[in-house]
Symmetry: D2
Subunit: 448 residues, 4 copies
């Protein structure tokens, strides 16, 4: 069993600074299509305004790196130390989350100055041969900012869906490799809809396995300690469930049959009047003609039929699995399959910003070589509750609140999504949301 710490390999200051700057620049690049007004919108309790993400990620470096490790550091604005605290009770008081939509001041310009001020401080710190503890926290801050990059995109997707005009974040264009997708009428698209093919399962052996992160490279505290777990043999689906398959579930009365649902899920269906995944809409009374809103605009279902279904809650994932006479995998089944495999897939750098169909004709879809879409595309709901690993120790100090206090009432998701920054995800990575959550890129992989 490894020690409970976040271990960072030795790097030269220049490499660290480059890593830092790369992450920080990417955050700004994601804001390119957005106006200062777009960055004010907070359209649901789970989301935050984009401007808040810009400020909070800077606050994180200021609070946990610059203040403790750069003696001469002077705060950009003393008020920001509590204004942009998200939830660290032991660090300072902080505003209620819903108030973030009132932060018209500081304006975007001032927040960008704040980012620059923090960046300048970080540059000085990194140049000054920082202590290993500071380096670890810089890496943590970079990972933290990568998480907010994903949140920034999921939050703006919700914001633009809430806006009655439904603007695009980035329009789909002719030059995109899936040209024709938008109309849903081309033969190409229709064909693509069928390309996903029949869903096959591979058998994996059980046994006593080690799970959790080993001591090489960064990880979050919730991935530790590495420990043993017993797994029975199981079967795992070779690809994610598609929009087309999910439309079959809907057409088969999936949202009207209580026997398919967990009791709490059935309550959620009725309380929220769910009839389809989030972002699916249709004309009143037309049961088939779904349209799906994405960061790239709205598409007819037909155009996305082979694309993994996304923005479903755990309850919907679980009900779909029951309908299909399957189940969801546990997080350790998933991890045991993923461990050791190459981490590649449809992630943020692809620029696609929505899930992609499985690679046509790829051997991985038809052989025992391993499942497709393990990393990227959609976070995969597991059957595992988000609980501490045996011997779990939260990070010391305020950062102990980063993950540990949320280990209740949530389910684990694995594998990253189409808006997860490349390099951020790994086999041991544990994401977690409450089971009714739908605003994330959350999808379904079946097991049995």
């Amino acid at each position: 069993m490894t020690t409970v710490t976040t271990v960072v390999p030795q790097s030269a200051p220049q490499e660290i600074l480059e890593r830092y700057n790369r992450v920080r620049r990417r955050t700004l690049a994601l804001c390119d299509p957005l106006s200062a007004e777009d960055m004010m919108v907070q359209s649901c309790p789970e989301a935050s305004p984009v401007k808040w993400h810009l400020a909070h990620t800077s606050w994180f470096f200021e609070s946990f790196v610059l203040r403790p490790f750069l003696p001469e550091y002077r705060a950009f604005n003393a008020e920001f130390s509590w204004l942009f605290n998200s939830y660290y009770q032991s660090y300072s008081a902080f505003p209620a989350k819903r108030l973030r939509s009132s932060f018209s001041r500081p304006g975007l310009d001032e927040v960008l100055h704040y980012r620059g001020w923090v960046d300048a401080g970080m540059e000085r710190l990194i140049a000054a041969d920082p202590r290993p503890e500071a380096l670890r926290l810089i890496e943590l801050g970079a990972n933290h900012e990568e998480q907010h990059q994903e949140l920034l995109l999921t939050d703006i997707l919700h914001a633009f869906f809430t806006n009655p005009l439904r603007p695009d974040y980035r329009a789909w264009s002719e030059s995109d490799d899936l040209a024709g997708m938008k109309s849903g009428e081309s033969d190409q698209a229709a064909t693509r809809g069928a390309e996903a093919g029949r869903l096959e399962f591979d058998r994996y052996e059980g046994g006593l396995r080690e799970v959790g992160r080993q001591a090489d490279g960064f990880c979050f505290d919730n991935e530790l300690p590495r420990h043993r777990a017993w797994i029975e043999h199981f079967f795992l689906g070779r690809r994610l469930v598609t929009c087309g398959e999910f439309a079959d579930f809907i057409a088969d009365g999936g949202y009207r049959r209580p026997e398919l649902w967990l009791s709490a899920g059935w309550d959620a269906v009725n309380a929220n009047a769910w009839v389809a995944p989030l972002y699916w809409t249709r004309q009143e009374g037309d049961d088939r003609d779904w349209r799906i809103f994405t960061l790239r605009g709205e598409f007819p279902l037909q155009a996305l039929a082979a694309v993994p279904v996304s923005h479903v809650s755990f309850y919907e994932a679980d009900a779909f699995a029951r309908w299909a006479s399957k189940r969801l995998p546990t997080e350790f089944e998933w991890e045991s399959v993923a461990e050791g495999r190459q981490i590649s897939g449809n992630m943020l750098s692809s620029g696609r910003l929505l899930p992609a169909p499985p690679p046509a004709g790829s051997p991985s879809l038809y052989s025992g070589d391993g499942p497709a879409q393990l990393f990227g595309d959609c976070w995969e709901w597991t059957a595992s509750a988000y609980l501490p690993y045996p011997g779990f120790q939260p990070l010391p100090g305020s950062l102990g609140e980063y993950n540990g206090k949320f280990m209740s009432g949530q389910m684990v998701l694995r594998g990253g999504s189409c808006v997860t920054p490349d390099g951020h995800i790994r086999a041991t990575y544990r994401n977690f949301f409450s089971p009714e959550t739908r605003w994330q890129f959350s999808g379904i992989r079946l097991a049995r």
Copy 2:
């Protein structure tokens, strides 16, 4: 009894255009201190973002004047015809009010273009010798926009109070005539606190009176028809209740004594944990050191002791009156006193943006010449429920929804406030809000 219509005197096109342009320019001028981001904030269900006010007031002219009366008019954007509809069910579908905070698109630039487009149309229409019906609707639209000017300021006050940084809308400066007010320490301010003096009452005779608007000049449909009402003799306070007097009520346990409150008021006190008017805050545990947030920044209670208390609900006004062994006046008592008097006072053009103490040494405060602060300063809660006048007829068409459908569950307020545009108010003007409303400049005049 007059006919039930909104009558506008004949005016030359040039005068009408000047009137129109004056109103429209004033709306923009009120936005001078605001950023595009400020104009996105919607901090409570009653309020709207400022940008929405800019768009909706243009929509009003477009929908009810340009479309019906300017044949060649082409809409700026077809979507806007429903996007910026507020609540006219018979005109078009419209977005839920809470969604207005998601309208980052159209951006402020586009909304300003929309205003310009509508202004150009209006100029063409007015130059083209419009029909009398169109003129009446232009006047209605100008009055509608004046109402939104007041709302714009009350909404931004709430927005800035909600922002944890509590920015000023317009800072108080040395050159303001109440210099020293901010500190609350000068002798001047202390004296001013005392200047309000003892509250005197004048006796007014009862009898059969006519109330409601006579047929000269614009009025809203809810001021009609002019009709007879019987009033008993009564006494009316010569000035509004001050912050200092209200602080006495608080210090005497006013918010903790159920016998002072209407039953629904007591429920509101407990449900909302009210302990003072909206925008009054204090240090935890300090029962005396109130600070009052305004559009001009925050002031100590001492500095505003002689200023009319504002931002109280009907329930608080009623409880204060009971505590003082008085009552609130009815709307017809108020109107019978106001009718025929000159309409002047501390209104929007004063630039003060908060209520003012009664004029020191003014004869009106000490004689039967009439009460001070009748117009401007604060809307005055009356004891009258907002109900239709006998024979009330809503305006024809969609504009019938302007006032009539709200005649339930609300109380009448009279007299205008410090943010009411000069010229907008009159003796017969009926404002109305639900009794728990506090975000308006609503204050207290006593009767007995």
Copy 3:
């Protein structure tokens, strides 16, 4: 203007005792069809368990008559002095209303003993030549208990409707004069449905009227002082609106057309998913086959077609009136018609327990002799908000909370209902409920 008090004419002790005993016995008689378990049910926030009514009415005499006026009186149970207080803040603390459903102890037996104990005390007090003030309060207590007799029946109607088995309070029998009503199939019933005939209106002159109670006989404080009010001429419907007419409103899309509703009413329709009056049900999908649940069991709409519609909110009454191009009368219009007329109608003593069709062939329906169904059948929603009369003074002491503190947010109803005790109602009587209330026997009379 009369003095503001509740004046009771001199009566002999024996008469007073008989009056007292008559009221008390009637309360118990109303419980005959009920079990101790029935008397535990509290099926909505407005209602109370029947057992609580039995105890609270005794508490009223104990608290406001026996304790102050019978020196040797010893409380039956010291805890009851606060346990059965309803809402008199200045008298004692009291349990939250929703807790009344937990009062399995004291049991019904003990509550009946409590009633006997109080009755014995009252007998001693009345025999002992009580002070006029005590006599006034006895009369008030008797009227108070009569109000709770009506509430007891409306509450048990709601309780039995909530019970999925929908038991009868008292079954309809062959010997009832409207035999055949239950089936709705007889020719008799069909004819009766038509008997209500076309709704006619009578014209009444306006002028300066006196309204409010004159100083002869008991009244509540809210009927005082008698004062002058100006009324314009008006027309009033000769009978109440029937279930058949209301079904036409429903069939014409009444509940789906926002233009017919006050804004708050439309919100209520949508929030509560109203599609018909309370107690109307139908088979899923069948838009015509309404069944109406009553204290006498369930009837098909057809059988009640000529019966006044009941259990509608003010909003529904107002929307129906707008649909019919009419309006609701004001409380003073109603009172000016009712004053001086004989107080008779379908009230509690008829034993019918539901509204009755207007008397067939009665001249009153076809002449200017006055409207039918003025008293009894249904409380009639008026267009008047429940506000204090000019010069209103609440009763002294805790009893000042009886009526006064509810003068906010409610509408006035006039005329009593089929479950109002005979002798309880009068032309000046003001009942009041919030506008969304439906569990009372509240119906519609039109004016224009």
Copy 4:
């Protein structure tokens, strides 16, 4: 791995009937102290009226045993087949849970007749040599009724606490072995408070264990299949946490320190204004003088200082553990300690009806012989989410809804309580409640 079924050993009909009758009689005996009115109370959403428990347990036998297996069985009342269905969606429609408080009809007498009718049917069925499947379902029904016996008591405890008079279910008497407990003043009681002694922990070895029920005797489907799980070595507390220890947590600011709580727990503390376990009350402002309400009346904290704390939520258990620098055990840690031990303790047959102090001077408290209070006293919150075991199969048919559909959002509790029927509990038994639940006898055992 065993097969996924509920296996019942062969028994003679006479034994089965005796088992059945014993369970049924015990349910009625628990009602001895209750009136028909007591049996109407439903004081919180989690609870049901006692009368409903009486009816529903009969419905269970009628629906799942008599209807399928006794051909000549005629239903007592056809309506009851849906009226007393709790939540089996696939069996029939059923009333919303909150409506159970309106079931004054059927009355208690009729429900008792229903029980007798079902008992007679069961006697005939058992005498007729029933099929093994029927025997299995009879045993399931008996276990089902035992669960409702516990619920009946926890529900009536809540009902009596809600009643402002706070009646006893069964008064504490001199003859009870803990005489003097009620006053809290005797030396005996004070001593007893200290007797719990310092909390010691025993070390248990880890390894690959089998968990879940083996195929001998009844169990619920959620205890199956038996399967392997890896456990690390751990320490487990020798007794439950006491009221005295929990009072120390409160006095140390436990409910005011967010760092001790899970995020959702801290939200629950604030939303519900928790300051102590359920049923603990104190005089306003007195931070030490707690009184604890039980089925045996109210006791001062001092008298129960050595008694296990009960009626705490998972969040409170977790926060207490964090405060004590410990944690809660997992369900498999607990099971691995409990397996093979004798099942004895303070359960329903003791008649105590509240938890008991650990046995004074017992070697089990001071040696490695095993922990005290493993069975009975309080259900012990574990750190394990309630999830299906690998290969879990719900029972076939409607009974598949018994447990499986609740496997979301709940935590596992182990060991039974002072109101669990003796013989009902076992080492593999999995109880489950949502983490904010407090109305059960739920307590705390620490691990580390």
